[in-house]
């Protein structure tokens, strides 16, 4: 099996290298020979995907066949590993995850090369760029991190097993989503660089890549949030975001990608920000690479990072070469990127996009700065310092609040120019509603001036509600116009409005989701926790809950042994649920894993939902009784709800617009078409 895998990887490298070199040669000519050469390059790119797919299938099959002669399988699998996790073996280690990167890139390239007739020359340029990236990954796979390396010496009877932290259902989904996001940004990057190289006229490349970018962004969003949820549900520390360098690495391309999704609208609609957009997508791609580099180089210590290895140097060389290529073609062809329009007014959608981009980039810079400051400190001061959550929370939160304010105000601004009167008219009611929420919070005992975290929480609540109210008001306002002219009821009119401009209203729904996420985060300062050793019948009181230990026990199965407690949860004297916090000990790796149990109080609290989060900390060896830690985390379930709303909004934004309909109008009035602007 390993020979087939190794051969497939070598073949893939050869085909990708051909696709790259022949693709470049073909771009120089426009004669029939060059066309034929270009076609062979395209087909080689498609075939390379087949070869990488074969290698990936061989690796997964080797995991299923418990082929421990392959070192990667020995290190990341074992005989008792459940089948679903044997799939996850593909991305659970350094070599396999690089193969997975290459597979996804091949898949994206495959789709792109099949759709080449949209614009053959632009697609040929993009195909060459993708082939270049693919060559880089396949070189690493063949020469530096070979997934089919053979074990030396006697064949081991069993493998080391998959890292226990990865043996969780979400781990089968989280890395592929994150990788689809990281890798997916290669496509808009390839089109952008291709368009720059060939001085592509107009904004068609942006129209072509818009859906790619949105899909990629959606995958990255899901990946980032699944990672947060995994940390929450598996790591057992009661939080979901620790500002770990690897978490930060996934956040940075998300921030620049979000900026790109916004600013690209200015190029589409007004022919502005061409240079800016070009560099935004270049930066997003490079940050995706930086994220991959961070997890693999060992340059920054992280709980997520793979083992230290020499492949960091490969990434540095690749990133430098990529940056140099971008700079070269930018300098050569920058005259092609002149803006076509001027800004007409400071209060306009255009300027709000500029400030939105600024804040997203400052947020990205802050995360980058904090992530790399320990290295800088070591260079300058001779010793490392820790840059952890307290730093990021204090520095990033003000920027995030400003961003939230713009998210609320931005959609109310018109393109070109907005009169202050219309801004007041559209903004007044949402603002009154949002401020009322702040007042209600103060009435119910939140003291914003008592502690900075309470101040931030209050501001975040007010601004999130402002976003939600402006989104609702925009739907109602647009719906009323349609309802007034077409005799539909308001809800049907709003649905119709949404369908007529899916991008705009899908975007508003994404904003709504973002506001829900912020509402979920703002509960953090109000978290509570209690830790106690619990014997039979012992109680913990936390918030409105009384936890009673009914029993505790242990079990054994082929993959792991476990201990858990049975905790009855009472609220207002009535039992609401039973929870089973658990701790496992995996036999092959000898590593423990905590499995917290979470009870969200949707039924009891609805909007002010709180997670009751129980962790089995371990056993007091003297008394033999379990130590249970209970957390009360207000509002956290809104984070995951917000993600679902964001994904739903993105999917609806991808649906093509319905054609404007001619509405029924009273006699003696000219028929008119109702359209929706963006």
């Amino acid at each position: 099996m390993s020979q087939i895998g190794s051969f497939a990887l070598l073949l893939a490298l050869g085909l990708s290298a051909y696709s790259f070199l022949a693709g470049i040669l073909a771009l120089f000519g426009r004669d029939a020979g060059s066309m034929r050469l270009g076609e062979t390059a395209r087909r080689a790119g498609i075939a390379a995907f087949g070869a990488v797919l074969l290698a990936a299938v061989v690796l997964v099959l080797s995991a299923f066949r418990d082929d421990f002669s392959i070192a990667y399988i020995f290190h990341h699998s074992n005989r008792e590993l459940p089948a679903a996790y044997k799939f996850a073996v593909l991305w659970s280690g350094q070599e396999g995850s690089l193969l997975f990167w290459s597979l996804l890139l091949g898949g994206y390239g495959f789709v792109l090369r099949l759709r080449y007739k949209t614009d053959q020359r632009l697609f040929a340029h993009a195909s060459v760029v993708i082939a270049a990236v693919q060559v880089f990954f396949l070189m690493i796979l063949n020469f530096a991190a070979h997934p089919f390396a053979i074990m030396e010496g006697a064949l081991p009877p069993d493998g080391n097993g998959l890292n226990p932290l990865l043996q969780y259902p979400e781990m089968v989904i989280h890395p592929p989503m994150l990788y689809l996001g990281y890798v997916g940004f290669t496509v808009p990057f390839a089109f952008a660089l291709g368009a720059l190289i060939m001085r592509y006229p107009g904004e068609k490349w942006i129209h072509i890549t818009r859906r790619w970018t949105m899909v990629t962004w959606c995958f990255l969003t899901i990946g980032v949030f699944l990672g947060a949820h995994w940390a929450y549900a598996v790591l057992g520390w009661g939080g979901y975001w620790g500002w770990d360098p690897v978490e930060n690495a996934s956040l940075m391309p998300w921030l620049t990608g979000t900026a790109f999704l916004h600013s690209v609208m200015m190029q589409e609609k007004r022919g502005m920000l061409k240079v800016w957009n070009m560099w935004l997508i270049f930066s997003t791609f490079l940050l995706s690479m930086l994220g991959t580099f961070l997890t693999r180089s060992g340059v920054i210590s992280s709980v997520h990072a793979f083992a230290q290895s020499s492949i960091g140097n490969w990434f540095i060389v690749f990133m430098v070469l990529t940056l140099a290529t971008c700079i070269f073609f930018f300098v050569k062809n920058k005259s092609h990127l002149k803006s076509e329009h001027k800004l007409e007014a400071l209060v306009s959608r255009e300027s709000s996009f500029l400030f939105n981009n600024l804040l997203l980039l400052v947020a990205c810079f802050t995360v980058l700065w904090g992530t790399f400051f320990p290295i800088l400190s070591e260079w300058v001061q001779g010793h490392k310092v820790t840059v952890g959550a307290p730093f990021f929370n204090r520095v990033a939160v003000p920027v995030a609040l400003l961003l939230l304010l713009l998210t609320a105000v931005g959609p109310l601004l018109a393109w070109r120019k907005t009169s202050i009167d219309s801004l007041k008219r559209n903004f007044l009611l949402p603002a009154v509603g949002a401020v009322s929420i702040g007042i209600v919070m103060i009435i119910f005992g939140v003291r914003p001036l008592e502690d900075p975290s309470y101040f931030y929480a209050t501001m975040a609540a007010v601004l999130s509600m402002l976003v939600i109210f402006t989104v609702i008001s925009e739907f109602i306002r647009g719906g009323r116009v349609i309802a007034g002219k077409s005799q539909m009821n308001l809800f049907a009119a709003m649905a119709h409005l949404w369908h007529r401009n899916t991008r705009r209203y899908g975007g508003y729904v994404v904003h709504f989701g973002v506001a829900l996420v912020v509402i979920g985060i703002l509960g953090t300062p109000f978290n509570k926790e209690v830790e106690k050793e619990m014997g039979f019948g012992d109680k913990i009181n936390i918030g409105p809950y009384t936890l009673v230990c009914q029993s505790y026990t242990q079990e054994d199965n082929p993959n792991y042994g476990n201990e858990w407690a049975i905790i009855n949860v009472f609220r207002g004297g009535k039992q609401v649920t039973t929870m089973y916090p658990e701790r496992r000990f995996y036999k092959s790796s000898g590593q423990p894993q905590t499995l917290p149990r979470i009870y969200p109080s949707f039924k009891e609290d609805l909007l002010l939902v709180t997670d009751l989060y129980l962790v089995y900390e371990g056993i007091n060896e003297t008394t033999g009784r379990p130590i249970i830690k209970a957390h009360l985390n207000p509002m956290v379930p809104w984070i995951w709800t917000g993600l679902i709303v964001m994904v739903f909004g993105t999917i609806t934004a991808l649906i093509p617009n319905a054609a404007p309909v001619r509405v029924t109008v009273p006699a003696r009035v000219e028929p008119q078409t109702v359209g929706a602007g963006d």
């Binding site: 790591l235 057992g236 520390w237 009661g238 939080g239 620790g242 770990d244 502005m272 210590s301 992280s302 709980v303 803006s339 001027k342 800004l343 007409e344 007014a345 400071l346 300027s351 500029l354 400030f355 600024l358 804040l359 980039l361 400052v362 810079f365 802050t366 700065w369 904090g370 400051f373 400190s377 300058v380 001061q381 010793h383 490392k384 310092v385 820790t386 840059v387 952890g388 959550a389 307290p390 730093f391 204090r394 520095v395 990033a396 920027v399 009169s419 219309s422 306002r477 116009v481 007034g484 701790r583 423990p592 905590t594 962790v615 900390e617 371990g618 830690k629």
Partner: protein, 137 residues
């Protein structure tokens, strides 16, 4: 510990890192049998019981465990740069965007082909009012 000490324990414990290599905040480390966090928590409780002030407690931890025990850069020496830079970036960025917006606003309008005129000023506002009236109704 009294009620006030509980709050201080919580605050200081959340501003320090566990030194076992888990990369977690001291009071959030939940590793089975983590020797570092249990020991550090006990040291923190002892310092609070002795009546040490926050600075003294932090200094003691830095002496014992090195500067990486503090979860965020201190506001001293070169570490100040860590705190200042994001706000410098925000300020410079704001200034840059304002300058860009102004320069764009002052950019001359491209010449139009003969016979084409663009409404401006009151005339344009009238058109906009009419359009708004039609869409708001």
């Amino acid at each position: 510990m009294g009620a006030g000490d509980d709050a201080r324990f919580n605050k200081i414990g959340h501003s320090m890192m566990c030194t076992c290599g888990c990369g977690q905040i001291l009071l959030e480390c939940n590793h089975v049998g983590c020797q570092s966090s249990d020991k550090m928590r006990n040291e923190l409780i002892a310092a609070l019981d002795r009546g040490d002030n926050n600075d003294l407690i932090m200094q003691g931890f830095v002496q014992n465990y090195g500067p990486t025990v503090i979860a965020a850069p201190t506001a001293t020496g070169f570490n100040r740069v860590a705190w200042i830079m994001p706000f410098v970036a925000l300020t410079l960025g704001m200034a840059f965007v304002v300058a860009v917006v102004r320069s764009w606003k002052n950019k001359p309008t491209p010449a139009l082909a003969d016979g084409i005129t663009i409404s401006d000023g009151d005339e344009l506002d009238d058109y906009k009012r009419k359009a708004r009236k039609e869409t708001d109704q």
